[in-house]
Amino acid sequence: MTDDSFTDDSFTDDSKGEPVHQGYLDDVSTAFADYDVLGAFWVNIQLTVYAGLIALVLGTVLAVMRISPVPSLRWAGTTYVTLLRNTPLTIIIVGCVLGLWGQLGVSLGTGFQQNFFRLAVLGLAVYHAAFVCEALRSGVNTVPTGQAEAARAIGLNFGQVAGLVILPQAFRGAVAPLGNVLIALVKNSTVAAAGSVAEASVLMKEMIENRPDIILTIFVVFALGFVVLVVPIGLATTSLSRRLAVAR
């Protein structure tokens, strides 16, 4: 993007050749017209959805491992959560791109863009799976022991106790903490910038570089974009968790 495109249009009227003062709002709207802000946020939403689905599956598996009667599976689940939860997400994503792809040559797609996107999804997913696991465990803790005891008493085995009795209730009890993980995931999708994915924070940086005069407006617009994404999730999960809570 070149600088002359807007300085010419904004401050001079070509037909008369006289400088014309243009309002700040017009100035801002011409600046935003040059960039695909919604497209950048769409990348964040896609990162969130794909990573969220993978993290949900992986996190559920980890949670089942951690409540299972098999010591080695419990150990493996606990180790995974301890390691991933305490590693900065930035290291994981840089590791995916520079380590997995750059050094090991692992490629998850064709073309740089798709490959970086999928590597970032991988990094986001393995990191947030640890938090999904913890959220589900806190959901399991809301299920009274009597439920498991009754399920055992009528002769269900571990898989049936977990799959038919405990987990369905645990998911309902875990809606609020899972919502928190989702909110964190939306915000953390910006960290994909460390993996060369062109998402909202990268676009914001680029826009500020080109239009430093309206830096505050640019920041507020992007920040409000995230508020618009995050607040409905918060409100929805709060009301869902109330509606779905098992009455005890």
Binding site: S68, T82, N86, P88, Q103, V143, R152, S201, T238
Partner: protein
């Protein structure tokens, strides 16, 4: 440990569990061995990729200075965030509706905005204001980003800490003639703060991890120095693993400290001490 889904096993279940356990161990170890074998195939376990981390120069010139910057940013941030959070938290408990709602909006805004976005904004905006030395801009940007986000989390902790105190605390304070503000200052908030301490220790883990975002805005943190080591020796993967392990050790220690604090401080406050990190969700309650 949750003993929820199974009860004390009998002899048959114990036998079965031994077999399942052996099978699961084989599977887990198998995956580990397979990964290591693949890495060895690619020469990633070769000694020359790992020996740089046995040399003192790697540590003295890169990793330790990086760790120092990381800890420095985290230490400053925890203090500024605690102050910011205390002020906003008291604002949310204020009797004035305006102060309450303004503090509420500030808290919700900063909790919804990604820390990285704030860091980039400060990183690019500070040089225009010309208030900090150009060399300090990345550090200040990291600290400001962490302060606003974590301060808002602390504000919520202060508020929920006060709300979670038994009502008798305030009633007793009012009964002996304290005004509401006095009761808040000298009875409720101190206890809420003690109840908060374990959660603050947990939040320290979050702050420490988030300093790594400084990597994106050129702050010379541990991740950046690990990358330098990696680019110099062609062992980025190994350097990142070492940096990650350093983070894991420190954060694991902090998590243990948090649960220790939660147990120790339980008797010093009428509130509930929890080691769990504070929740992030947008709350609808004013």
């Amino acid at each position: 440990m949750s003993q929820l889904l199974f009860d004390a096993p009998g002899p048959r279940a114990r036998r079965r569990m031994v077999w399942v356990n052996v099978a699961a161990t084989v599977a887990v170890v198998g995956i580990g061995v397979w990964v290591l074998a693949r890495l060895a195939d690619k020469g990633q376990l070769d000694a020359d990729l790992w020996t740089p981390f046995l040399e003192p120069d790697t540590w003295l010139d890169y990793l330790l200075p990086g760790l120092r910057s990381t800890l420095e940013a985290a230490a400053i941030s925890i203090v500024t965030a605690a102050i910011f959070g205390l002020v906003l938290g008291l604002g949310r408990l204020s009797r004035s509706r305006t102060v309450r709602s303004v503090s509420g909006v500030i808290v919700e805004f900063f909790r919804a905005v990604p820390v990285l976005l704030m860091m980039i904004f400060f990183y690019m905006g500070l040089p225009r204001l010309d208030v900090v030395d150009a060399a300090d801009v990345p550090l200040v940007a990291v600290v400001l980003g962490l302060t606003f986000y974590n301060g808002s989390v602390f504000a919520e902790l202060v508020r929920s800490g006060v709300h979670n105190l038994p009502r008798g605390q305030r009633e007793a304070a009012l009964a002996i003639g304290l005004r509401r503000g006095q009761s808040l200052r000298s009875v409720e908030v101190p206890q809420a703060l003690i109840a908060m301490l374990p959660a603050i220790a947990s939040q320290l883990v979050v702050i420490l991890k988030d300093t790594a975002l400084g990597y994106i805005i050129t702050y010379p943190d541990l991740l950046n120095s690990a990358r330098l080591v990696g680019t110099g020796n062609g062992n980025i993967l190994q350097a990142l693993v070492v940096a990650a392990l350093m983070f894991i050790v420190i954060n694991y220690g902090l998590t243990r400290l948090a649960s220790l604090l939660a147990r120790r401080l339980g008797t010093r406050t009428a509130g509930e001490t929890r080691a769990a990190p504070p929740p992030l969700a947008i709350s609808t309650k004013g």
